[in-house]
Symmetry: D2
Subunit: 401 residues, 4 copies
């Protein structure tokens, strides 16, 4: 029995960790194995090749580090930078804040560009800083592709364009934790130097793999970066890649098999179809929010996130109460508002291996909770608005045609 | 990967087999064991005791036969009757029809009382037959508690009352396949002589255990019943019960552990709460059907089933197309109309380990499919009507208060 | 935690149910599905085709009945015979005894040919009975391919030869429960009319599928056989085969996926390699028994079973104590002696998905238990003898060369 | 199917990752959950309390970091030390070598005390260094409790005694990766300041939790330690401990439930019984090695390891060939010789959830492989010697008495 049993399935709509497909659970349901036998390296080889596809890179080098997104951040930074290095970083929500905190604690000189929470990264200020930096003292731009706390997606193509406009050599380090495998992410096309995500996000696995992908320029930078690092050091991985044994230390056998299946599912559906599905479900969610008469925390459409929607509640409601009640009454897990937006927003995560009816079940649950806490929602209004869109836009399931 | 992969979870709303709780899947995820070791009998003993609770019997003797509902039917009949015996049986839908077919093929003299599909058993005719049967040639009344094909629940208390009124000694054999553990079923109070169900129904297990519970009177009858039987013979079970080894042949180890967990979940929630949850979800479903402007196949409220709702579609729609499309486009599994109501009804199974948001997701899916096939439904109308009811009636989850 | 927890793995060496491969457990670790969707019939179709291969038949028709071996027996008998029919049956151990008991209780006129337990079927007596039966009153020969209680394998090719010699039209019904998929079994070549096995034996699945395969002659016989039957009736299966939906009632979804994987494993290894592995492990076991100075219950080499070895213990030892102690001290599950040989033999099952080191672990356990109960065994003697053979005869694992 | 399928179970005898009990696999077979709901913190609280028991500490503070042993090392070092700090470290095998490499790369001034591989830490040299260090320039002693590469166990009680003798305030940092939960480890009694292990070792889980336990003195040191750290920083954990939410970033839900079950199994068996079992199996292994006429890589009995035995092979044999062949022919996974002892030793891991017959199966496999590669072993000799010991010393399984 579960720790706090309730009948039926848990409706998991936090923006991570997300729902794991049954076939991935199956793939992971296995005993440990000797990772030095020929079998594990042979499988790892296929994983490293295939992981590149989800980053949309052919020139990048992936690392599957037994860690979380926080560790992946640390790996991106310490392999490419030296203490004291100046980096530009955007503060637009709780997760960019935490990354900035890490950058500072690791000894970098962080030039923070702050936006109101609910807005995207201020690229104009970045542009002016780059323009002024004729000495190239800025060593890296650190940016989240998608801020999970506010549901804001930044325009990475534009970041690259600005860097190119100023012919600035700064590395482009991207947190793709709540984007890669869900939003359209193009490592090579956008000249991203380090991109990273975590297994428990759009890949729909358990927590435990921090996926980091480094461009040739990032690998080059790692040769001279002076930050202390061992566990997160790419050098050890590269050494074992060369030997064909791949692992400097013990990986999770279960997660490797899980990743194999997760990638197979993504390729079976088609990465672009996966991304389109995220857009579809996010659009439906936003239509529901609108129908409820509530506001998206994200202030402009250009920043709307297709993986998480942060919903602003009227001031007379405590959004934490919505989250609590959803869990206590409807077995529905929603995301809390964090830090500056605590009590003000709740979040619907709509990323990973998810389909239309799961989302509609969630949305009907949100409606009931809204009513529970005193918000005068018309039951069925949001679900109806979402369904109207989905009924028009959902394709037949490929394998069943 | 699955045979016909679609992203996200399958929404399983056929009236069986039904959704298996994760903790039951976990309990069954195990190697075989020697069923002659002391461990299996020790666990079996607890199962047999606890199974009686879901039949609401203290005097009954349960048999956990490695078979399906069809086999459970056969066990009920062959252990209590002899070829040529006269039995009364009610034809009210596809499953009662199949049971009657079995009764005839097993050599009984079946006195069929037919109702229009969508109506309950005609107890008046039964009463008059009993009245006429002063010789007690009628050896058994065979009745489904819930006809899965039409969503009709029969009034077993009334059956018992009539039998008592006429002081008729006929055995009362009840198919509780789509009722026990979901509807209020009272074996002892209603004087049911044999009750049966299958593991894949409200118990929310895989198919594989035909559960049969026999009253002392039924056990007595089995001593003289002349129907040939071996696999289904209660005698062999009783012999092994006495020896304390319990199994005349190899049971499924996995299902025994699964049953242990399934029963634990039911007792944790409380059997009466489980039944109330079924009533709640069924009421919500019927409100949705009404909101869509569609008719319940069940003609009177007294027969409304709390485990399955058969929905009549307008004559210009083929209900099979609804089922096909639900599966092909929304990964939603609905029940087909069978035999006389093929093409005319589709069925929503709302039994087993299920909660409010799962049902609402299903209902929103049904709305979209209805629109897909040309029925002018207002999207959100059914879900809204159901939610209005559920938001008022759903209790907090006990373990989370 | 398990009911009676002990550290490490259980060493399962009863002759069924047997060890399930991890990948089969994985395949079965899944929710229920609508068995009327297109997915399940599509998979079933492949199963029925592939199951024929393990029976070595191209003309047979397989039935995957949700039952045990006992039910499979009943299906074989009731579909081909009518009450009162004369059948020849061989009593050579507990399982043939149980089958005979079933045959008698189902109303057949059983002509029993008894052998001492430890001997094979007396085919000379059969021959003389056939010779005398010029009227062809004998409708069927019922024989176990392998008697699980004594570890005796009968010579089916010879049975066929004798039938042919006398041009006798009796059906040949074979219990292949502890043989098919492990011993060399040739349905078509040996003119077997009905062959059957259970999923929990050499197929290495959980209990729950009784596999019955019928020759064209058996199918023909089923059209006129008068035994009452519904659940076990082939006719219902054939009807659904024709419709392409395959299932007259709900199958276990989990077992179907498990069977798919089990068959895939067998074909990956190669059925003949699987059989050779059984011969290898059985030979090793017999060498160990010899080294211990103990006798095989099977009296002649021609009857030696490659799936189970029944070991005779000296009269001053109670073999039940060996089984009890193996389980209590070494987490080793051995088979009890049954009925006539209770207390006199213990059994080592060496069938199913098993390899050399598993067997050697078991044999070393048996040695320790023998010492525990006072038999003067030289520890290491049996294992050494077995290993000497295995070290010479075990091939490299195909996939790892 | 597995990547490189072989029939039967894999015999996993590398010294990590080790065999996972079935009930732990079951516990982990689950979907993700919101780690910010009340359920996960409630369970985490019990884990943190119970983890202290396996470190035998009441005053320590445990951290369950989503990382491997290598990350746990890094956490131990960077939280307690500052770059440039002098530490004493013992080079006695591949894993102590890797830890020293890490210490150096993290900027510490490592005073290496080297021993021949196969010997334990030279504590006399440590004593003299401490004696000379009146200024207390030595900030920490770093020592592996058990060197996994050579099967050498160091005497930690003696290390503490020497530190106490010199009243030296250096921190005592202990790698307990292949010891904790298997060898007798006493954090409080031995004044260990940081102890660590990985989930995939004696706890018998998948890789993914680096368990670090800090004494009050170590926590105090962490307040002033200047090593850069974020992911591995105890401060963030302590902050969330105080808030009662426990996790600074996303843990693996599956591993938490797995750890809960793994601890339950250990407490069910009794930690001291678990340790006694390791001693028993290790003794049996050493007796087998002796019977084969081979030498233990560990030069003195005082250093014998109860979790891994490194076996020296004659110079005319390449030990890698033994490992390769064991896997290719017998589905047996043994540990390679590493670095200085590559080709010279192979290793048998006998730690984690393992029992007597599993080990004996392994030992018989080793015998066959030895013969395969040309070593003149008497088959059965090692198994017999091990069994003779085990048959005398193995207790009855508690739950089955």
């Amino acid at each position: 029995m579960d720790y706090v049993y309730g009948p039926g399935r848990n409706h998991l709509f936090v923006p991570g960790p997300v729902n794991i497909p049954e076939s991935v659970l199956r793939a992971m349901n296995r005993n440990n194995e000797d990772y030095r036998s020929p079998a594990v390296p042979a499988m790892t080889k296929t994983l490293l090749e295939d992981v590149k596809k989800i980053f949309k890179t052919t020139t990048g080098t992936p690392f599957l580090i037994p860690t979380t997104g926080t560790g992946a951040w640390e790996s991106a930074l310490t392999n490419t930078l030296s203490p004291g290095d100046r980096v530009i970083s955007f503060l637009i929500g709780q997760f960019s804040l935490l990354w900035i905190d890490q950058q500072q604690r690791l000894g970098f000189n962080v030039d923070v560009i702050e936006s109101e929470w609910g807005q995207g990264a201020n690229l104009d200020i970045m542009a002016s800083k780059l323009a002024a930096d004729t000495q190239h003292s800025i060593k890296a731009i650190c940016i989240v592709h998608n801020e999970t706390a506010t549901g804001v997606t930044n325009n990475l193509a534009k970041v690259r364009r600005i860097l190119d406009d100023y012919r600035h050599p700064a590395l482009l380090l991207v947190d793709g934790v709540s984007s890669i495998c869900a939003l359209d992410f193009r490592m090579d096309e956008w000249g991203v130097d380090v991109a990273l995500t975590g297994s428990q996000k759009a890949l729909s696995l358990p927590t435990g793999i921090g996926m980091v992908c480094a461009s040739p320029k990032a690998l080059e930078a790692s040769k001279t970066a002076k930050s202390y690092r061992v566990f997160f050091d790419w050098k050890d991985y590269l050494k074992f890649y060369k030997m064909g044994t791949y692992w400097p230390y013990t990986p999770s056998i279960q997660l490797l098999y899980g990743l194999r299946e997760a990638l197979d599912l993504i390729f079976e559906e088609g990465l672009d179809n996966v991304i389109a599905r995220h857009t579809r479900l996010a659009t439906a969610t936003r239509l529901a929010v609108e129908a409820w008469g509530l506001k998206n925390c994200t202030q402009k459409e250009e920043w709307f996130s297709d993986t998480v929607t942060a919903v602003l509640v009227p001031s007379y409601i405590d959004s934490s109460e919505i989250v609590r009640r959803a869990w206590k009454r409807y077995n529905l897990s929603l995301g809390l508002g964090l830090n500056k937006v605590a009590g003000k927003v709740f979040r619907i995560g709509h990323l990973g291996n998810l389909n239309e009816l799961q989302l509609l079940g969630c949305l009907s649950g949100v409606e009931m909770v809204l009513k529970d806490v005193g918000y005068p929602v018309k039951l069925g209004s949001g679900v109806g608005a979402a369904a109207a869109y989905l009924q028009n836009s959902t394709p037949l399931i490929q394998s069943r045609i």
